[in-house]
Subunit: 479 residues, 2 copies
Amino acid sequence: MNLEKLFKPSSMAVVGVSKSNPLSPGRIILVKNQFEMNVKVHGIHPKGGEIEGIPLYEKLDELPEIPDLLVIAVSAEDTLEYIQQCADLKIPAAIIIGGGFAEIGGEGMKRQEKLEKLAFDNDIAVLGPNCIGVYAPPLVDTIFLPTERITRPPKGSVALISQSGGVLIDQFFVKFKERNIGVSTAVSIGNRAVVDETMLLEYFSKVDKETSNIAFYLEGFKDKRARDFLKAAKESEDTVIAFFGGITEQGRIATQSHTASLAGNSKILFGALKQYHVIHPHSERELLTYLKVYDVLSQKKQPFGQKRIVYGNVAILSVSGGHGVICSDMLQKYGLTPVRFTEEEKKQMHDILNPVAREIASFNNPIDLTGSVLDRDIENMISFLSDIERIECIILLLLPYPPNISFQIGRRIANVVVSKKKPIIAFLPYVEKYSLIIESLELSNIPVFHEIKEAVQAVAALKLRTRIYNLKKNNIFWE
Amino acid sequence: MNLEKLFKPSSMAVVGVSKSNPLSPGRIILVKNQFEMNVKVHGIHPKGGEIEGIPLYEKLDELPEIPDLLVIAVSAEDTLEYIQQCADLKIPAAIIIGGGFAEIGGEGMKRQEKLEKLAFDNDIAVLGPNCIGVYAPPLVDTIFLPTERITRPPKGSVALISQSGGVLIDQFFVKFKERNIGVSTAVSIGNRAVVDETMLLEYFSKVDKETSNIAFYLEGFKDKRARDFLKAAKESEDTVIAFFGGITEQGRIATQSHTASLAGNSKILFGALKQYHVIHPHSERELLTYLKVYDVLSQKKQPFGQKRIVYGNVAILSVSGGHGVICSDMLQKYGLTPVRFTEEEKKQMHDILNPVAREIASFNNPIDLTGSVLDRDIENMISFLSDIERIECIILLLLPYPPNISFQIGRRIANVVVSKKKPIIAFLPYVEKYSLIIESLELSNIPVFHEIKEAVQAVAALKLRTRIYNLKKNNIFWE
């Protein structure tokens, strides 16, 4: 089944467009795609007419062209009829927004079975039902909530697949935007009657060129598809990350009322994920940290070249002693090691610094440059540390509070890093006024985090990615 | 030793004011307090003159009054002389900004011993050396960084004491502001030669009326003072929270280069804290969550009356199924229990809702009202749940994305909560455009968190506070 038309249609049609309620899902989708996205949009309404200048056609077969994608926002009963029309007209892809299928049991179960048969028999890529569909910039956005109410992530390398629409637009979109994590395509799979997580994993791995990281929020695998998913993950050259909800007893009770799926025995699940090199973060925060660093330093992009972080040997460069302490406390937990400096290296660092700072600075690891530091000290130190071969990554804890640190510091650091090509992970406070500095760094592929812990986790994430890369290369799995 | 003049001086003098360098610490402190704070400020300069309209006196004994507080920003050698003058002139409090004492070893150690003797013999409350001093709004701010570069927290109930100045202004100030956690007084103790954590704990417990929560960032206790600290914590009616840096092997190495103190054996330390009911969060994030909920629902304020959360029985009210699942997954870990609803209660909830939502909503716990919810449904549900006695707290997961939820929702919820007096903890996305809703809730003492996990932790924090309250009341300690 070809999923490309779901995400890259040249034209689409919407059914279920209300003329009386401007907040109805179908109408929001029609108007949003017409005025905000790049796909060509047609509206369907049994009585024809127009909405906000968009002509409405009475029937699908009256459209001036066969659309690539049909978005269906009508009742469950009418939905099946439209899927039949997709079959008749050879419309290759459809998104079903509404519910009333397997999630309500009984009658709905049977309806979903019919839907599945129809779709598979006619090779129609059906997404949903009971979903918010896709956000595939710049072409399509079927999220039926007003754009000004939600937050959209920037464009990037992460394909994001969620079993819950609410989690997708809130937990992910909001936090992606906050952290500047870029999305290639976001997909809400709902009941996943036809298109499921495994098909999406294959599509984003093999077909989609923009994606290099594939992330899932799931509350369980589709029936009997766990093995297929793991096999697809094994074969994927992208980084595959899965986060699971509904893994505790309480959570399981909650999922039954939600999307009727069970994460099952979480111990077996997590073991299997590990065996097949699917990264499974311990918390949502860890997931976001991983995605951020994998997006900025993506495997396809490799801004600092082929060199990978193998051992986790780091240097911590700080302007605050306390921050160095907190960072050091976390290294061990995340499997990282501070390199030891020789007396000669310490002397060289001492000599690099300005005369005031050098007397009070500390040249152990963490290096504490103190608040007496100047821009050029930071530049010089990064340059010096970059030349030490056994340092794989620099963790920079940068507090721009001292008045001697200028607002050009981001660009100045970036210039050094771009020429030295040593990976550097930065911590900066999450404060609007420092966004200039943060942007300067991120434009040059220096990931900036706003928690010391996340900066440390990010280095650990790069080390983990190297390990998985090597295991996959040598075809090591534990089936 | 009376510490009040350190935090509530009616007048202060600053020595170490540079006429040539506008960024020198003493000068920043002089100007900042003159123009931004409410204390009466005098400047001292060996040649007199004036800076930005502030007259400078050549000597301390030429001031028009004996100041309550002397801020000293001169070299280590000259510092002792000024402390001697405090003794001679009966100035009751001093803050020493500069370093050059115990933290450099050798000569500095001896200097610090002299300082201690001088201060204790003459009963001078000396803060520092090697610190950024105090932020005690609206009177005093000795943080020698430009105000526009740093972030200040709002006024509130938390006394904040930090061994690291950098951690105080960055990790705490920035995140307090972000989370709207209020500070009564913030103190950087530096080398704590004279005024130490135990004296501050006693002062904020017994003297300061604005404080009801006392939080510490420490890298270890002052020599042989651990027992005194624990005894003071035991006797405090305030909530005492301590977070430690330098507790791992790597962190310990880092503290040696920083403030020359060791957290020692962390297992023994954490055991002792627990015995004396000092709350010890596992992470900085947990610390912030605790402080937020303890600040908004402070023991002195008790906005919802005397009733306390004893068992941790909660109801989860959500508009997104996935959010309910994620929240449910966390309850067990944090020792909380979802109440079970009777069939009768489920029927009542069903009948309360609007006709569209009631058919697709789920009335288990978590309750999922779905995106078809209206403002009045949320009001009615909170009102209904508030009347169920066995629910101790409602966790509200509110996503204002559906167009039917109005921007008045915060005030409407607040009105219900104020009359029903049932504690409610809210989750809302951290998005600028929803700040109106967030503020409406927080103005009525509904703490709002931006991570589901933090909302759950906050309820656990209230349960923990009840437990400590009861243990202290019954004088149960394990010495």
